[in-house]
């Protein structure tokens, strides 16, 4: 019975196809686990800045993180090798969470080193991701932005602990930075999704940091040079 044989062949092909996809998912999952592991490692390292907010100690942590980011590149490269170029979004949910966390850690490290915002391209580059969808395995804009919001929250805590350690400069620097970040986010027309919710939380971080600056200002703990006249405004 010829037709039956043909149909049989057809379905055997399908079966093979489905099996392959399941295997692929398994491999992706393994690679993502590696990324999540590194993310946890870096998180642990960066916890130390709260204990010891002196700039040279902070830079040590940053260096240590940077070494780990390098390792990420390898894993993202392996992930990219696994995922066919046009199927990025077919599997995207599997590594989304890890990427958000790593974006957070890169931008935190960057800020602590330079006092500046790590641009989208810089974060992508640090993790070995492409900055544009068209170019292949890329950093998704929403994941980058989610990472920035996580950073703002961590910086609020860092401002607190800096004061406790007698560093009154840092909260002011952080306040300026997070204020600008807040202004930036307000430019985005965020729909009512998960990003929007996280953005609403940002306002509280902003307020918290401002209160610290206020505490420092009102007690004259603000570092003098150049700012004294401004206070007289």
């Amino acid at each position: 019975m010829e037709t039956a044989a043909e149909m049989n062949k057809l379905f055997s092909d399908f079966s093979e196809y489905i099996r392959k996809e399941q295997d692929l998912k398994e491999k992706i999952r393994d690679e993502v686990k590696n990324l999540e592991h590194i993310a946890r490692e870096i998180t642990m390292i960066m916890q130390n800045v709260h204990q010891n907010p002196a700039q040279d100690e902070v830079l040590k942590c940053c260096n240590s993180s940077r070494a780990n980011f390098a390792t990420c590149k390898t894993h993202y490269a392996q992930l990219a090798a696994l995922v066919p170029v046009n199927q990025f979004y077919h599997f995207n949910d599997m590594w989304r969470f890890a990427t958000q966390k790593l974006a957070f850690l890169v931008s935190l490290t960057f800020f602590l080193e330079t006092g500046k915002l790590a641009s989208f391209e810089e974060v992508a580059e640090s993790l070995g991701l492409k900055p544009e969808r068209e170019k292949g395995f890329h950093l998704d804009l929403e994941d980058y932005l989610t990472g920035l919001l996580q950073m703002a929250s961590e910086l609020a805590r860092f401002a607190t602990n800096s004061v406790t350690s007698g560093n009154y400069d840092r909260p002011i620097e952080i306040s300026k930075f997070v204020s600008e970040l807040n202004a930036g986010f307000r430019l985005l027309n965020l729909k009512n999704d998960s990003l929007r919710k996280k953005f609403d939380a940002l306002k509280y971080d902003v307020k918290k940091i401002e209160e610290i600056v206020y505490d420092v200002s009102i007690r004259g703990l603000r570092p003098a040079a150049g700012n004294a006249d401004q206070a007289g405004n």
Binding site: I172, S175, K176, S179, E180, N182, A183, R186, K203, V206, K207, E210, E211, V213, Y214, S217, I218, Q230, A231, N233
Partner: protein, 268 residues
């Protein structure tokens, strides 16, 4: 619309011998007419929502009560509200001529509520009070040109139902809470207390409603209580922090805490 036409064509092709089919062709026309009207109103309502949200955003950019730009911004908000009324609500009103407006309420409810939120927010910034729905109804009532010869000119309107109005006011409290938080940043501490007092007034009234049969009110009252709590906490914070220094230094200190208070505009 294209689809509708395609379907109409299709209907032509179908055998007319059956009485039932003939009747259903009539039904189809009726249903299509209703759906089309509904769709048109929904689109208008969506535009109202978007523009109202933008106006609310604009009002949030007002920076300080004695800011020279305040009046300018409020003027702009007012102009844009007028545009919403004339361009969009008049169009909705036209669609409703000869119809039972309640049949299409679901189509324009969202836009109407958001517009009320914007309108009352605007009015609150101008006069620290909100207009009665009868007042707003006037703004949504339009003179209709006599369409046919000999027909006399009449009035058409998008109805401002009291419940829709009150749901809009419920949402307003959320914006006022946001305004309060922003005011702390700008050192406008008195405004915070004023806002808090107003929110309490609104909450008190909502708490006094019999919300039985009005599900949305129950939900909104709950959200409003949270907004109120946040506002009260802001006032509390101002008080306990204010306690540490003489009052007249407080606002100054808060200003100091921001590096360039005058350049901040647009961020808040």
């Amino acid at each position: 619309q294209r689809l509708r036409e395609a379907k109409d064509e299709q209907r032509q092709l179908i055998d007319d011998s059956s009485e039932i089919i003939k009747t259903f062709k009539q039904f189809a026309l009726q249903l299509d007419a209703k759906h089309d009207r509904h769709e048109r109103i929904v689109k208008l309502s969506r535009d109202v929502t978007i523009e109202s949200k933008r106006i609310i955003f604009l009002i949030h950019t007002i920076n300080s009560s004695n800011d020279s730009k305040k009046e300018q911004i409020l003027d702009q908000a007012n102009t844009r509200l007028k545009q919403v009324e004339t361009n969009l609500f008049q169009a909705i009103a036209k669609e409703l001529v000869g119809e039972d407006p309640h049949q299409f309420l679901r189509a324009f409810s969202a836009g109407l509520q958001e517009y009320i939120e914007a309108k009352t927010f605007y009015q609150f910034m101008v006069s620290a009070s909100i207009p009665h729905w009868n007042e707003i109804q006037k703004d949504l009532t339009f003179a209709q040109e006599a369409t046919e010869e000999g027909a006399e000119a009449s009035e058409i309107q998008t109805p401002v139902l009291p419940t829709e109005y009150m749901l809009g006011v419920g949402d307003l409290t959320g914006e006022l809470m946001r305004r309060c938080i922003n005011c702390v940043g700008m050192g406008e501490l008195d405004a915070c207390k004023q806002l808090c007092g107003f929110l309490r007034q609104v909450y008190r009234i909502f708490a006094g409603f019999d919300t039985f049969g009005y599900k949305e009110f129950g939900r909104k009252t709950y959200v409003m209580r949270q907004s109120l709590a946040k506002t009260e906490n802001v006032c509390y914070t101002i008080q306990v922090r204010g306690s540490e220094v003489p009052k007249h230094l407080l606002a100054q200190a808060i200003h100091m805490s921001m590096d360039n208070p005058d350049e901040d505009e647009g961020f808040y």
